[in-house]
Symmetry: C2
C-alpha cells in the first residue's frame, strides 16, 4: 500500500520515470535483446539475431542503436574484414533485469489465476 502510494504520487501527472522506462523498453524487441545479452554477454550481431528469434536486420540494428544511445548496451567493433562486432550489456542494462522482477512475478501470478485450466501463455492468435 505504502509502496503504491509512493508510486502514484510521484508519477501520474506528467514526466514520469516509469513512462520513460516504458518508452525505453516498450518496443517489440528490446527486452528479448536485453535478455539474450544478459544470458550470454558479448554476442556478435548474427549470434544475437539467431537468438532473438524472428527479429529482422532492420529491427535488430535499430534497437541496438537505441539501446546503445541510452547506454544500456555497448558496441565493440574490431574494425577488421570481415567485420566482427560484439554487443555487451552495460551496467544500466544489467541492473534493469532485476528491476523487472516485480512485474514478471505479477505476470506469472496473473496468468496462473486467469488460465486455471488453459495453457501457459496464450495472449493472441
Amino acid at each position: 500500500m505504502k509502496a503504491s502510494k509512493n508510486i502514484k504520487t510521484q508519477n501520474y501527472t506528467d514526466r514520469c520515470p516509469l513512462l520513460y522506462v516504458m518508452e525505453l523498453i516498450g518496443s517489440k524487441w528490446k527486452l528479448p535483446i536485453l535478455w539474450c545479452l544478459n544470458d550470454e554477454d558479448g554476442l556478435h550481431y548474427n549470434e544475437l539475431k539467431r537468438r532473438v528469434h524472428g527479429v529482422t536486420n532492420t529491427m535488430l540494428t535499430k534497437c541496438l542503436r537505441e539501446l546503445e544511445e541510452r547506454g544500456l548496451v555497448s558496441r565493440h567493433s574490431r574494425g577488421s574484414v570481415p567485420p566482427s562486432v560484439t554487443y555487451h550489456l552495460r551496467e544500466d542494462g544489467r541492473s534493469l533485469m532485476p528491476a523487472l522482477e516485480g512485474l514478471c512475478r505479477w505476470g506469472m501470478d496473473y496468468l496462473k489465476k486467469h488460465e486455471e485450466g488453459g495453457g501457459t501463455c496464450e495472449d493472441k492468435g
Copy 2:
C-alpha cells in the same frame, strides 16, 4: 544476479509473462488510467477523463474496455438517465501498482545519473 537469472531463464524464448504484461499495460493511457483509479477509487467516466489529462473519448473508452476485459478494473453502471458509470480498480489492478516499483526506481535512478545538470525528465521534444 539470481533474480535476473531467474527472469531470463523463464522468459526470453516465447510466451513470457513479462511480455504479456508489457502488452497489457504498454499502450499510451493504460498506466495513467490505473494510477488515477489507484489514487482515487471509484471515478466517473468524465472525472477520469479530466484526470487523465489529454486522453480522448475514443482512447479512454477503448482502454477501459480492455482493462475491464483483463479484470484490472470494474465498471458499475446505475442504468439511469442521465447515465452514471463508475470505474473501480479490482484486486489485480491494485496489486499491479507495487509490482511496478522496481521499474520505477530504476527509472528514477537512471534519470538521475543521465541528466546530472538537466531537468527532470526530458525524453523527446
